[in-house]
Symmetry: C2
Subunit: 147 residues, 2 copies
Amino acid sequence: MKTKTIEKPQLSNIEPLLQKSNIRPTAMRILVYKFLLENEAAKALIDIENHFAKSDRTTLYRTIKTFEDKGIVHQIDDGTGTAKYALCEEGCNCEIETDLHLHFHCKICDETICLTDHKIPQINLPNGFSAENANLVIKGICDKCSC
Amino acid sequence: MKTKTIEKPQLSNIEPLLQKSNIRPTAMRILVYKFLLENEAAKALIDIENHFAKSDRTTLYRTIKTFEDKGIVHQIDDGTGTAKYALCEEGCNCEIETDLHLHFHCKICDETICLTDHKIPQINLPNGFSAENANLVIKGICDKCSC
DNA sequence: CTTGTTAATGCACTTCTGTTGCACTAACAT
DNA sequence: ATGTTAGTGCAACAGAAGTGCATTAACAAG
């Protein structure tokens, strides 16, 4: 399978990367960013809380909100009822709602991943309807669980 | 635009219709069914609660759950965070997860409707991924709000 | 028509996620 | 070094979803 090689930021580069997006690189923020970077799957707030058991729920909540506001993280609604978050790839335009990549939710491992290279196809709507944004979640079994 | 005429059940036919699906036609259930039938848009539990202010939340909650279990109502996750419910059309196979129609959420009137005639197009997934279900919500402005 | 069983209803309570107010503390520029 | 701004932690709240249990209604069998 031919997969596009995506240049992931190096762990050591997190600090300037945050600064580039006008986010003060506090210790907590660097750790949360690192956590998201190390995980392919999108994470829910509760996952981040569990990983940083010592930290306060609110801080993590606001950290993610900051990341989202500054456009380096996007929220995913995968139908499980709890919001997931994933780092935006380079050049992601999710903040202007035109980056219509789709998401895959595996019913075995219960993880949600971005299929960044797969865009949502054009949909013909009935007369009078105008689309501005779209959310497509495919559910099934992921590559890791299908052997 | 050429719209398919859908035969909606008559209000007077609700009782036998529920019985056909092995649902005891209690007064409450008939009213809830009628409410869903009279609304084009999918309704959240809170909408049903507000409409039947005299009734208990739990009863309405379990009524909808029953409808869902018996396959006459399907749940819609439109990204607003609260689940919406809509009657299944005749021949809807949502319970076996193959009825992949899409949903439209209007950001003006905040209503969600089923676009029953619009199916989700085939998506090519990466190797190793198998799809079983899909959920596509388009957000924008609906016909009623776009004048 | 009565009776017994099963299902539906209503109330109270709990859980989970998301969110805000406020005091305290750390970061950074001057 | 110091003052302002931003980040953190605690508590509390809000909304939706779900459960336990006692009461009541529905319905089939006698």
